[in-house]
Symmetry: C2
Subunit: 114 residues, 2 copies
């Protein structure tokens, strides 16, 4: 492995961004966290994120599960029931995300001038 690649892997900023810097990840984490009991089903999430396609939602959830930020619980019923919740690691990320969102709300007008 090259030095450059090693430096890349060691950089926490890139790690952070590569894990949930995409179009939907932060929104999923936020939405699950804001729910009543911290648990949400697939279609329930879909209704809260109306402009996210089914494909992107399941893809995003799969990534978050692999990053150990979201827990996926499957109940062997028919029709199937799958519940998503934040892991402890996922919960520990929420303060940082909420700080980012708070900043976004406060400085919206300074940044967006299109």
């Amino acid at each position: 492995m090259t030095d450059i690649k090693a430096a890349y892997l060691a950089c926490p900023i890139r790690q952070v961004i590569s894990r949930f810097g995409d179009k939907w990840s932060l929104l999923v984490l936020y939405t699950i966290n804001e729910s009543e009991n911290g648990v949400m089903r697939f279609n329930e999430l879909r209704h809260h994120m109306m402009d996210c396609s089914q494909k992107m939602l399941s893809q995003t959830l799969k990534n978050l599960e692999q990053s150990h930020l979201v827990h996926r619980e499957v109940y062997p019923e028919v029709p199937p029931r799958v519940e998503y919740s934040l892991t402890d690691t996922g919960k520990s990320l929420m303060p940082a995300i909420m700080a980012l969102i708070a900043w976004g709300k406060e400085h919206f007008n300074e940044v967006v001038t299109d």
Copy 2:
């Protein structure tokens, strides 16, 4: 404008992500902020971000300037000298970014298991 689009535009999470959720923006903000006097020249940034192409760096800086997060000062010299620094808005974002980075450092091992 549809209701869905209005909801989209009003969502601070998306605004935040769309402004600096790309591959390089957060790293640029972080790098400028960590510098000696808070000011960096183009090639200086390049050396700190070795695997970012020239094209992407200038593109990223342009976006950050348009979002009023970075200030660009051009000195009419030859060869040209251009200095980049954070605006007040940009500085106000740093605590949230540093919180995210701190989280990334702390939870690196829980999340990255490839």
